[in-house]
Symmetry: D3
């Protein structure tokens, strides 16, 4: 049984999301959802991401301490992905955009990403480039809705997603659609049926990719390389500098 | 229980490979190995690939007719990958290079591919580019051995792989090593232990990725987009032109 | 006198095409047209290409055995181009897309390619990238017609080509138009006159480029490099494995 | 008189650095140095950057509240650059890598960046790509020294910098050298004299570029575009969510 | 006091432009404007650029002989930029496009360039690529006006610039606008106010960047690298071949 | 009979070169060589290119006035290529690098260019990028000899070319070698025999490509597009501004 922790970078319970996660996980997984003790209500702005980032990384590290097999950083900006992979030793760290884009790339020649607002595009484009998959990007398209809007008026959201998805397919050459926000959860199936092309839900992608990588780690020893980008900071530095106390995370680091 | 067919593009049984495949598959899969009725003994040359390609595609199509959930095209050139994805309707088609490169990309910043001979590099580089992952490629390195050599003198193979892998890590900045031939199977674990970086075995990668995509298909309806690159040829054309008879594959196409 | 063989990847005589070829060849060439013994009626799908590919390569090899100076693989997907260049020893192998794109690049800053249907674009884009000329590509534009449609209603074809060519010039910044199918032959001149920009007919491009490369080979010894991508498979392997008999091409390989 | 704040992302006074900054500023600037209340002793790891980032962004925002014309985020990873540009309204935000690379690009065809350790390269390469200047990058070269080592044994540092800089010039085609750490300050001039190519000190680059952009803002109204990437988060959200109190920065946000 | 020479590649006084330049220079500079003895009236065509280029380079060299600190080559094609940097020894050489694009890159994620006519785009695109900044380019947009038109009907020019700038922002994702002709001077401020995004005037950019680089040279010894692209031709060659006399520039070269 | 003019951008007869050209032209061509009335003795520096450029363009234009079918601009920097294509109406303009790189791309996967000195690389790399063929470039390698050295000590030149060519093949993955200077003429054949890979002589490439394009123009109407990059300057401007008299080329422009 794989133990997966989905970290919702928001301070507040979201039962609907929790239920959704239970439905999409694989049969051999046990999935829990954590929220942060403090957080902005969405991460549309870099500033909000900066506020939440250390807590996100610490929550992922805590997941390792608690024995989780995998932790998912729940936002399509993939906040803290490389930081968490660097700092953990064996916990699988996954994130929605990275997982979605790799899956999308194997389902068609090019994909389009539907974002909420234009503001998100530069940061997310940089992630597409970072993951090496820019050659597979057909376009970004914005539906003109904020994160908090998606579930306020689901009919409007569904209509806007469909409109922009159709344009992506017809005008931009997209063969696969990627929903560019974890809070667009729940819309993919109907949209997929209407459009006749695969529509990637980033929650699904990240949970299922996390399960795969737990298997790969356990069966084949494949974990993020510690030579280069994900080399961990030395414990000696962390403790001798007193970082655990300074940042209130004594529970996370052995003294 | 997922039913997976590994198609070895060679005409002849290979019990060692078969045993290896049984060991690397996941617990919910049943994996069989098929060989071609006729084939060259390796696919190092484009010509050999051209000879085998139609048979490979037909074998994958037959797997669909036989009810397999997935078929794997067993060669790091990924021969017939796009052809098979185009022609099948719901069978998952996977191939070693594509699977390996996506996994490697999530395990480190850049990967190097160890090929047998220099001759392979241009064709494989084009695949890396096709999959969109060229920005993640640190280098190709050749060990100077043909496909048929790898298991003739395993100690030599292991030594040559280790030498070039070290150069890739030290000189090219590779953080992950990808074995660039399915017949390099069996070497990854010891190499990984020696190097301290993940070493991707393409057989493992393709089998496990196939299992994931069967799950994604069954649970979420994600199959290769049929709008664009993987649009299937119309059955009406195939039959009215008499292709099944012309090419001796009447069993594969309804008349 | 250069002897050129145009290989039409179709099983059936096409006198109109044959006449056209005679008109476009250079004065020092003798051009023949070969058809395959068996083939699909067009190669719009990868599957059809897979069916025809070995026969195409063998037909090109046969051309070498018959003493042709050059063989042209007649389809804008350039099927079998690298396979044939690999397997022959001194016959010039040319193909429509490669020839057209190099010529177009010297006639203007960027070119657009007019394809029949959207389906063709990913595969042809990969060829543009493979030839290294993607920086010169302004756009692909689809006229919404299949290969077999082009000469069924020539007026419609001419109108659709003109419409999309104008959009390519006006909206995409194209300065040169490339016809993306050998079966669009016969339309370039009128289109060129109407648009006022060069319109490349891929038949013309491939025949004339083949003639040039025969000259370059004969006068300067320039033939495809056999170090790397086009290294030929060893005859010893081919014969000891019995490939000629297995694939019914004993006439092509010395025993 | 332009008022510039250099933010040293470390918790502790560094008089030597402070003196250096006074020497490199322009004649019409008044430059102060701020340190963080808490921080790791260097930012070689993403984790340390994650710990410091919110404080860095807040310190930059405080600089705006205090009336500074510009704030410089002092580390070659450019931590918090896009976050700070997003959140401030008119203060110029500059960072060492971005400034250095633009200057280097105007001084020669290609530049190499001398980093301390291999670990830094992936993150810094992503910044080079983000700034759009990857085509101008000749290479990264590592001197095998940590941030805290540079001023411990200056003779060793100078020698190692010279060795790798020479290799960059002779083997990688670099025409300009960029020092890839603000703590490599003080070495550029001697190195430049020895090598005979410009050597960019990132402290100098960021201070002088900050001064330029204050002028451009004051004289021509050129400030970071607020349409797109640098759109600021709405004050209404920040206050209604109680973020200032949650994160202990009530002094920074009007209530 | 920095002495800057703006070289207008036209044969004829332009008092309006001269006044404009006085207004945009920095307080520590003395700016003069030179015109060529002979020149076409604009450089929209490569031919005109070829006619003017040697005179431009010689005028820049003369500026060095006259003791100017910097010379600006006044046309958005940046004619003679690399030639002049190569031939001078210590005079700062700047040009409008290079300066504008570097500044624009620090003010937003992507910029669009407003050119007069479509004809200009290929050459200017090549400059964007040469400067390494193509990843930051959102689009070129043409206003359909020649160089000589911009100040003939300023209201029309302003309207056309606004129309295309809006399209660049709304449709192409531009966050910053760059005016793609020095003769579009005087329009940036009103356009900037209307659009709410920074609009870069290339005259301003080049003058201010020239001032910065004079400071960098004088204070830090940063001048274009003479190892590689900007290596100067040997005086011995120039004189022994008699080039000064041949080209009527004896005053520029010591004999 | 095609009439081709090879323009040697040097002021002085070179009978050896003239003889060489006669040997490499095709049987249906008549090839003459022109030299400039004034010129530097080589174009290794941008400055020398700037001095020669207008004369080169005018010489090409004169070739059109004299009824030549094609003019070749004889230097591997391809000086004046786009200027001359812009200004002529129907004369084929060719240049050594462009021709060589297109031919090399069809003879192997990647090519290396052997230059004389490091100084040449940035400018020539920009041409490779401009022609769209950078993806096919394996490397530049410098032999450390100036243009005037190549025929001073032919044995040394041959040895240096061979050394660097071998490195390009063995270390950089080159499959084809391109000689990066027209004055390296005469060395290709022996080098090719020794290396066993094609070695492209840029004189040969440009002459033969010019012949092809004369045929394409005469038989199919394919000439450089006059929509966009190669749009010609209007005669009305040229004459009303008095450019012919100003630049001493009254003979070239109708009054």
């Amino acid at each position: 049984m794989k133990r997966i922790l989905y970290i919702h970078p928001i301070a507040g319970v979201d039962h609907e999301l929790e239920d959704y996660l239970q439905k999409i996980k694989g049969p051999d997984s046990e999935l829990s959802m954590a929220v942060l003790d403090r957080a902005p209500q969405h991460l549309e702005y870099y500033y909000y991401g900066a506020l939440a980032q250390a807590d996100l990384v610490h929550r992922a590290l805590q997941a390792e301490r608690e024995g989780y097999d995998a932790a998912i950083l729940g936002c399509f900006y993939d906040p803290g992905l490389r930081e968490a992979r660097e700092v953990v030793q064996h916990t699988v760290i996954m994130a929605p955009a990275e997982s979605s884009l790799h899956i999308a790339s194997m389902l068609g020649h090019r994909f389009s990403i539907l974002v909420g607002r234009r503001k998100w595009i530069p940061g997310m484009l940089e992630n597409v480039i970072r993951y090496g998959l820019a050659p597979r990007l057909a376009s970004f398209r914005s539906v003109g809705l904020g994160v908090l809007d998606f579930h306020r008026d689901p009919a409007l959201t569904a209509r806007r997603l469909e409109e922009e998805a159709r344009r992506a397919v017809d005008e931009d050459g997209a063969e696969v659609i990627v929903l560019g926000c974890t809070m667009q959860y729940g819309f993919f199936r109907e949209l997929q049926n209407k459009l006749g092309v695969p529509v990637i839900d980033p929650l699904v992608a990240s949970v299922r990719m996390a399960e795969l990588f737990v298997d790969l780690r356990d069966s084949f020893g494949w974990s993020p390389s510690k030579v280069g980008e994900y080399e961990s900071p030395p414990l000696a530095e962390i403790t001798s500098w007193g970082l655990p106390k300074t940042y209130g995370v004594e529970a996370l680091w052995p003294s």
